[in-house]
């Protein structure tokens, strides 16, 4: 599964994207797995109210299932316009 990070999430984790092998059932499970890895992940995901997630380029939520998903992106609330 391709995991992508944007804006300060990318900066905190230190990489723009990575391939993650996981059996996580939901986005929440994936976050728990990542946080357990290293302090920089733990810091980046410490407050999920400040985060948004997209599954295969569609905005989604943290309870969403990951079955069949190829691309997960984490980023702060958008500030376009």
């Amino acid at each position: 599964m391709n995991v992508i990070y944007f804006a300060w999430v990318r900066e905190r984790i230190g990489i723009p994207q990575e391939t993650v092998e996981t059996d996580a059932v939901t986005v929440k499970d994936l976050i728990a797995e990542l946080r357990a890895r290293e302090a920089r992940y733990d810091a980046a995901f410490s407050d999920t109210t400040a985060l948004r997630v997209a599954l295969d380029q569609e905005l989604s939520d943290f309870d969403a299932p990951l079955a069949g998903v190829r691309e997960v992106a984490f980023f702060p609330p958008m500030t376009g316009g």
């Binding site: 569609e58 905005l59 992106a73 609330p77 958008m78 376009g80 316009g81």
Partner: protein, 146 residues
């Protein structure tokens, strides 16, 4: 519908003139241009990051929703990414319709949704610091108007 996501500069006036040329029954054209502001007087540049692929899809979804809600002859969306100087145009929306109310409402709607639903992130770079612009609760609340 024209959607362009680009790092290049664009000329809002030239875009306005190109837009909606000979595309049916047009009585009203509304445009919005967003410009890089130097609110503190120390901005070196604005950096805009985006999510290639999702950006185009998200904008098209927003434009399709606008076309469902209002009778629009045409819609233009241009959004830049990369480094932008103070005073540079960041993005532009234009709507063409037979009637004024539809053109105004659709442009306002597009801006509200592009602000909170298109995957762009702004970072302000000054001599002292680089700061990600925080989303405002008011921006999210604005979506409830529609």
């Amino acid at each position: 519908m024209t959607v362009r996501v680009q790092s290049d500069h664009f000329d809002a006036g030239a875009e306005l003139n190109c837009f909606a040329q000979g595309c049916g029954d047009i009585g009203a054209v509304v445009s919005f241009t967003g410009v890089v502001r130097d609110t503190q007087g120390n901005l070196r540049e604005m950096l805009i990051e985006h999510y290639p692929g999702m950006t185009e899809k998200a904008i098209k979804t927003i434009v399709d929703e606008a076309k469902k809600r209002w009778d629009l002859a045409d819609v233009l969306v241009i959004h830049r990414y990369g480094p932008l100087a103070v005073g540079a145009p960041i993005m532009m929306v234009a709507t063409a319709a037979a009637h004024r109310a539809a053109a105004f409402a659709a442009a306002d709607f597009l801006m509200d949704y592009l602000k909170s639903r298109a995957p762009f992130w702004k970072k302000e770079v000054t001599e002292q610091a680089e700061t990600w612009v925080a989303a405002k609760d008011a921006d999210e609340d604005a979506l409830k108007r529609w």
